[in-house]
């Protein structure tokens, strides 16, 4: 990586190249520029920290969600072109999710506001910041109880906003579309602590999730994803943590479980308490003040309530003690029903009696997640409707969209005389505003974050504001407005305010603040957490608790689950074409919404895949196509949030449906969170059918050696393959060509046929060169799809839109395949779903190479399967002959569709492909070259192991991907590839791929792949 820059008054020094001629950024394959003369525009004053053509990296904090992962941002000529996880950051440890990558598109989004806007009739009129601020000041000066509705923000801004609201004598309402309030409330009731407990998934050996989708939503998806992967992967001792999922529907998290207990919605409390009761046995004090609660629960009752067998619960309870350390997670943001807090309390009691508090459940550094109460918003609605608040300001939230229409927020908001929005881009709320003061994107602005108590991270601007948009950081706006109100002299900048905030908190004993500040900017965060793990005491609840199964609004024979989307959250990410075209990790559908329904249920009602149905709840009705999903209970249907935008922009509007339309405006008691699993629905076919825009061909492996697994019991028994899929001989490099072949177990193995090619041509010179190879551990891969978007961002992979995907033309270089082996929604049992990231296998015997008539694809001496775009004629012969189907074709000049300034994100090191050429994964050859160039400049040293990191490996939160030079015996890739679980997809074809997969490890026996019957 290039050096991390730090800067004092960074903004001035981050000048940038107005036109990118110098770097040839956004280079196109056949430079079809319309102007005859190409201009080179140099800097007027050259910034001393930017070298044209050399990347500069900055640390900052991801503003995507409440997890606040640390980021490294790669900039070229002053443009941010790629975001990556900060390896030093305690939360993300280098990983980043798909949403995180997509924040880049919001930075350059053409739907951002060009500048401050004032309502002029039905239109908006752009005004100067001076006008806008004066206007706001004026209105605030006279307004009766102004209100500020705000989403999540960093500590400094938070403090400033509080002071500001206090200054104008207004009220502040904080609102998070997705909130962990029930969990926080439960923690407060049970332990009297504030904030969300931290979970140590990594060290748990037995993990229980009561409908908690922790790797996709919730307080910290990336960290939890990493934790789960580490926990569930086989360690040196050959042991592996076990993960059981209890819930009506398998979310992405659920799909990664080893066992699924499909309990009825809302019965988590019963099961958890029954387990606790079993564990507590006849010890009356085990559950302290809650012991009496446990009396009322036993597996028999729970089993009846939850619709599972009594034994299943007993077994769980026993394992939960025997397989310590264990960890149970209560219902998360995806499963908020009317008893969510109670359920979380029940799970806390379970953890407590199992002695997990202080071991896997930590309250030392609570997570500062999103915990606002929906109840507050309900209050504001009435306030607005009554017209008593004359000015309402909205920051970092889109309540008009993300609140059930039932709440009547939009109507009430319309009543407000003067509505102010700080949104940087159009959304349903700002659409209604009278004044828009576009905030900066977090990559252009100063800020800070505290993901965990005791951890401080600074969000620094990595570039000048995108010149298309006259945005201004809300902090600065508030300061100058406050200034106008008080009539004092010049306002301080928010940067000063921020720094002051940290200086005041800083203990000079630890050295000079300036140095500390520089260090903070360089590393991106400061960690002052204590070491000791506290064991807390249960407190007796100050309110009456009911653990009964919550009620669901009738009528309707199917319970409706409305859950945040792994791609869009509650809809704040919907306007990103990357995410729209990212196949949903569960359904593999893009661009539109779908209703998940169990195949049996569908069969009974004569519903087929893609049938459009009318879903009707007591609160609303909408039409949506059905997707048949074996991973959902027969009495449940599910809809994801994030669809059906009406005023968010070109990529979000009219894509799918807004599930909130079916929900009542009800808040859970006592936490006050919005309940999403709350109503039953009727589902009636409209008779119409549509093809689902899915990238899934078949979810069945058809007995092919694609994603095999090995039973844990069979590990270490190399040789006897009886319980095992495929062979797992020791790996040996295929001489010269970069493929890998097993040492022959019998005659006729590939080694019996050494490749001629290895003795010819460039290979003859390159025998000593590197051989690039990759290993992907399917036991770690959770299918989260972060790599897909990372790759798209790094390699200028275009998006093609719903129509093209329907034609089977999606362009992603990484295809996360999802195969069902064993999914049974009718009873508790083993769960076996295989995820497999399929990329170009860079075969040693690549079938695609031979057939290309013009050598546009061939094998490089470094073992890459090269694709030379400018040589490609477009016969598509290579794609036909690729058994892995990883080659994608530019059917049109898709990149022409990319509007300014979204194309500013393009990676100048990667050619933008033209109409009519083939493309595919290149192992990020541009990164290989970058590192090799650097090594050459540094005295021609060797390239170090782990110095070349492809975008997918860098991004992978699960650390499933390893890349390197297999020639180097000490390289990680060589170590990993020599695992007994290593195999190559479809290796019978003797394509000898350079990508080695490591088999998934299951607890149950797995049938072996039968190539002959």
């Amino acid at each position: 990586m290039a050096e991390n820059k730090s800067m004092k008054d960074g903004i001035k020094r981050r000048d940038f190249l107005r036109v990118l001629g110098v770097s040839g950024a956004g280079a196109t394959l056949t430079g079809c520029s319309t102007e005859k003369v190409e201009r080179l525009l140099p800097y007027v004053v050259a910034p001393d920290d930017i070298t044209p053509g050399v990347s500069t990296w900055y640390t900052t904090v991801c503003g995507g969600c409440s997890a606040q992962c640390g980021m490294w941002v790669r900039t070229r000529e002053g443009r941010a072109i790629k975001v990556e996880g900060n390896p030093n950051h305690p939360v993300s440890e280098g990983g980043l999710c798909a949403k995180g990558h997509a924040t880049l598109q919001h930075l350059y989004h053409p739907d951002r506001f060009l500048g401050p806007m004032m309502r002029d009739g039905s239109e908006f009129r752009q005004v100067t910041w001076e006008e806008a601020e004066s206007l706001l000041a004026a209105r605030l000066g006279s307004a009766q109880n102004p209100m500020l509705i705000s989403g999540r923000m960093g500590p400094s801004l938070n403090k400033l906003v509080d002071e500001f609201v206090e200054g104008i004598g207004g009220v502040r309402v904080s609102y998070d579309a997705i909130s962990d309030a029930p969990l926080a409330e439960a923690a407060r009731i049970v332990y009297g602590t504030a904030g969300i407990p931290q979970y140590d998934l990594e060290n748990a050996r037995f993990l229980l999730s009561f409908g908690n989708d922790f790797i996709e939503t919730g307080s910290s998806p990336v960290a939890h994803n990493k934790g789960l992967a580490r926990m569930s992967s086989v360690d040196a001792a050959g042991s592996k943590g076990r993960f059981v999922y209890l819930g009506p529907r398998l979310s992405l998290t659920g799909l990664n479980a080893d066992k699924w207990i499909p309990i009825r919605p809302g019965t988590e409390a019963a099961v958890a308490l029954a387990m606790a009761a079993v564990i507590a046995g006849d010890d009356p004090e085990a559950a302290g003040p809650y012991s009496n609660v446990l009396q009322a629960y036993n597996p028999r009752v729970a089993a009846q309530v939850a619709g599972v067998t009594e034994d299943a619960i007993f077994e769980l309870a026993e394992d939960f003690v025997s397989e310590a350390p264990t960890l149970a997670l209560g219902p998360g943001v995806g499963a908020h029903h009317r008893g969510a807090t109670a359920a979380n309390i029940a799970v806390m009691i379970l953890n407590h009696v199992a002695g997990n508090v202080g071991r896997t459940v930590l309250y030392d550094a609570p997570v500062n997640g999103a915990v606002s109460a929906y109840a507050d918003i309900e209050a504001t609605v009435s306030a607005m409707a009554s017209g008593e608040s004359e000015v309402v300001m909205v920051h970092g939230a889109n309540p008009v969209y993300s609140i059930p229409p039932q709440a009547g927020f939009a109507e009430a908001f319309a009543q407000v005389p003067f509505k102010v929005s700080f949104a940087s881009a159009l959304d349903e709320t700002s659409e209604m505003a009278d004044l828009i003061l576009p905030d900066r994107h977090f990559l252009e602005a100063w800020g800070d974050s505290s993901p965990l108590a005791g951890v401080i991270a600074v969000q620094q601007p990595v570039m000048q504001p995108v010149p298309h948009f006259e945005s201004k950081q809300t902090g600065d706006v508030l300061l100058s407005v406050a200034n106008k109100l008080s009539g004092e002299g010049d306002a301080a900048t928010f940067y000063d305010y921020l720094q002051e905030h940290h200086r005041s908190a800083y203990d000079e004993a630890d050295g000079d603040f300036e140095d500390a500040w520089q260090e903070l900017l360089r590393t991106g965060m400061a960690d002052t957490r204590g070491e000791e793990a506290r064991v807390l005491e249960l407190q007796s609840p100050e309110i009456a608790l009911s653990f009964e199964v919550p009620t669901f609004d009738a009528p309707g024979d199917l319970t409706l689950l409305v859950h945040p989307s792994p791609r869009f959250g509650a809809g704040e990410f919907s306007n990103s074409p990357w995410l729209q075209e990212l196949p949903d990790p569960v359904s593999k559908i893009v661009w539109h919404s779908w209703l998940e329904m169990n195949p049996h249920t569908a069969e009974l009602r004569g519903i087929r895949d893609g049938d459009i149905v009318t879903v009707t709840s007591p609160h609303g009705s909408l039409e949506v196509p059905v997707w048949l999903y074996p991973g959902i209970r027969e009495d449940v249907v599910a809809l994801a949030m994030g669809g059906g935008h009406t005023g968010m922009g070109r990529y979000a509007d009219d894509k799918g449906v807004n599930a909130l339309g079916l929900l009542p405006s009800t808040s859970e008691q006592p936490s006050g969170a919005l309940v999403t699993t709350v109503t039953s629905v009727t589902v009636i076919p409209t008779g119409e059918n549509r093809r689902l825009a899915t990238v899934e061909g078949s979810s069945d492996q058809h007995d092919r050696l694609i994603a095999p697994a090995v039973a844990l019991a069979d590990l270490g028994h190399a040789g006897d393959d009886e319980h095992e899929e495929g062979g797992h001989e020791e790996l040996r490099e295929l001489q010269g060509v970069g493929g890998f072949i097993p040492v022959p177990a019998d005659e006729g193995a590939p080694t019996a046929f050494p490749l001629e090619g290895s003795r010819h041509g460039l290979y003859a010179d390159a025998q000593e060169g590197p051989r690039w190879a990759m290993a992907i551990d399917l036991d770690k891969c959770t299918g989260c799809s972060a790599c897909v978007t990372a790759c798209q961002a790094e390699n200028n992979v275009p998006w093609v839109g719903e129509e093209q995907v329907l034609m089977g033309r999606d362009m992603n270089w990484v295809r996360i395949e999802r195969f069902y082996e064993q999914v049974d929604a009718t009873q508790a049992g083993d769960l076996d779903v295989r995820f497999l990231p399929m990329i170009c296998q860079h075969c040693g015997n690549a079938p695609c190479e031979t057939v290309c008539p013009v050598f546009a694809t061939y094998h490089t001496p470094e073992g890459l399967n090269a694709q030379v775009y400018n040589r490609c004629v477009g016969t598509r012969y290579c794609a036909n002959n690729c058994p892995y189907k990883v080659r994608v074709f530019n059917w049109y000049r898709y990149t022409d569709e990319v509007p300014e300034p979204l194309n500013w994100q393009w990676n100048p090191d990667v050619t933008v492909r033209d109409n009519g050429v083939m493309e595919k994964c290149s192992f990020c050859v541009q990164r290989i070259r970058e590192v090799q160039n650097r090594a050459a400049l540094e005295g021609g040293r060797e390239v170090r192991d782990h110095e070349v990191v492809p975008a997918c490996e860098q991004s992978c939160p699960a650390e499933a991907i390893v890349f390197g030079n297999i020639r180097d015996p000490n390289a990680r890739i060589t170590q990993v590839s020599s695992s007994e679980r290593t195999y190559r997809v479809l290796e019978d074809l003797n394509t000898q791929p350079a990508v080695n997969y490591l088999k998934k490890v299951t607890f149950h026996e797995v049938a072996s792949v039968g190539h002959e019957e």
């Binding site: 394959l29 003369v37 190409e38 044209p52």
Partner: protein, 193 residues
């Protein structure tokens, strides 16, 4: 009589076979649409004399190329001098030959607009040319760009420059080094990715 015909015929056959090996002239690379086609020196916003700056003749300043093209040794891009670096010297030096041109620099410094230089040397957009690797390998700028220091006006039609022709690059990469191997890789992905 017949023999005579026979010989004639064979000759024609051989010419037929020979036809296949007629050398084809260097052809325009893709992207050559944006090669510059303007008459000099009026094409450039400022009549910048390279010889005056870099030339070694008496009265010329014999400056090092990389004084202005500052990133050539550490970056893929050679770098175009910022207006301020021009001004750094020209504040003091009004320019003996044509001060009115030098005066333009001041205007740009004041207005803050970059100087819209016209690009002369351009390789196709799908070619990645790392300047630093070539300088590092001991190449002189002149080997590709010609005797710039002797030219008042640069011209992509300079015989030394062949950046619009892949064969020109390959010729050099192919040259055997002392071990007899090609001195630079001719693997496609060295430049094309």
């Amino acid at each position: 009589m017949r023999k005579h015909w026979l010989i004639g015929g064979l000759a024609s056959l051989l010419t037929l076979a020979g036809l296949a090996f007629i050398q084809e002239g260097p052809q325009e690379p893709p992207g050559s649409e944006d090669m510059v086609e303007v008459e000099y020196p009026s094409g450039q916003p400022i009549a910048f004399p390279h010889d005056q700056h870099a030339g070694s003749q008496p009265g010329q300043n014999n400056m090092d190329c990389q004084y202005c093209h500052y990133s050539a040794e550490r970056s893929v891009d050679a770098g175009i001098p910022s207006v301020s670096s021009c001004w750094g010297c020209h504040q003091a030096i009004p320019g003996s030959n044509n001060p009115e041109e030098v005066a333009k620099i001041q205007q740009h410094i004041q207005s803050g607009d970059p100087i819209p230089w016209v690009r002369i040397y351009k390789v196709a957009d799908h070619v990645h040319f790392p300047h630093m690797r070539h300088l590092n390998a001991g190449l002189e700028c002149q080997q590709c760009h010609g005797e710039v220091q002797e030219l008042q006006v640069l011209d992509s039609r300079d015989p030394a420059w062949g950046g619009d022709n892949m064969g020109w690059c390959v010729e050099c990469h192919r040259q055997p080094d002392d071990t007899g191997k090609a001195q630079a890789s001719t693997d496609c992905t060295v430049c094309h990715y």
